[in-house]
């Protein structure tokens, strides 16, 4: 990816979908930390965790890894260090 080319519209759209699902996962995590026996919410949490994984697989295919230290696979050459970083987009 040419580092001077702006990211396409689809990058922002897919990223926002991931941010939305992951946000609910954050909020549910804190909720479950104080409500560990809420069975229905744990079901909702697991369903969303699955959705998040699906969205991220599709994102990473197009725009490179979201995680490293082994959290994502790598293309050749090593693509983790590729700009843009979150604060740059």
């Amino acid at each position: 990816m040419n580092s001077s080319a702006p990211m396409p519209e689809s990058y922002y759209r897919l990223l926002e979908k991931i941010q939305a699902v992951d946000f609910v996962l954050v909020d549910l995590t804190l909720y479950l930390d104080t409500h560990p026996n809420d069975f229905e919410t744990i079901k909702q949490f697991n369903q969303l965790a699955y959705e998040s994984k699906q969205l991220k697989a599709s994102f990473e295919e197009q725009f490179g890894p979201l995680l490293q230290y082994g959290g994502s696979f790598s293309q050749y050459p090593w693509d983790w260090k590729q700009a843009p970083w979150p604060w740059q987009v």
Partner: protein, 189 residues
């Protein structure tokens, strides 16, 4: 250990180059009630709090680092490529001669971050009440920055962060409820 994820928690957009607003936002970067203080306070208190609420401190502390990155992104974008003249006009001349465009952990008035901003008393109730107070103080700081800012995009992100303080405060209050509960009594939610 921690894994870094290459995304912001919430989208950050900036409408114009505005170093003056960056100078105010620094308060939530390296100020007493800012995100760095919050993250370090909670993660440090984890070691001496009852097991029942360690998870909550761990997870809120981790979320605070995501907020720190959002604040850093705002400051970075508001000042990126600003000329020394623009920085001087915004009251950032003193910052520029020491740091150029680099971010630094200090508050809006330039005082460097200090560990004295945070406490770890080792007493679970004292520590959790500090955490509730810290969230309310951070909420108030976001209000005053929203009041002084006229950037609609920045304000959108700041409203998100303000709401997170409210949710965190709620969870810390629940942690206190959990710790004060009498052992032989049934919980009723």
């Amino acid at each position: 250990m921690w894994y870094y994820e290459k995304k912001l928690q919430y989208p950050v957009k900036v409408s114009q180059c505005n170093p003056m607003l960056a100078k105010y936002l620094i308060e939530q970067y390296g100020g007493a009630d800012g995100e760095l203080s919050a993250a370090l306070r909670y993660l440090n208190q984890r070691y001496t709090i009852p097991d029942k609420v360690v998870g909550l401190l761990n997870d809120i502390g981790t979320e605070e680092f995501a907020h720190l990155e959002m604040i850093a992104t705002m400051i970075y974008k508001l000042t990126k490529d600003a000329t020394p003249e623009q920085l001087k006009a915004a009251g950032l001349g003193a910052h520029f001669v020491n740091h150029d465009h680099a971010l630094y952990y200090h508050n809006a008035a330039g005082s460097p971050w200090t560990a004295t901003y945070i406490q770890a008393k080792g007493d679970p109730i004292a520590d959790l009440y500090e955490d509730v107070a810290a969230e309310e103080k951070a909420r108030a700081t976001y209000q005053w920055i929203i009041d002084i800012s006229d950037d609609p995009y920045i304000n959108d992100s700041l409203k998100f962060l303000r709401e997170r303080e409210i949710v965190h405060s709620q969870r810390f209050k629940e942690a206190i409820e959990i710790l004060k509960e009498e052992r032989d009594r049934q919980k009723i939610f």
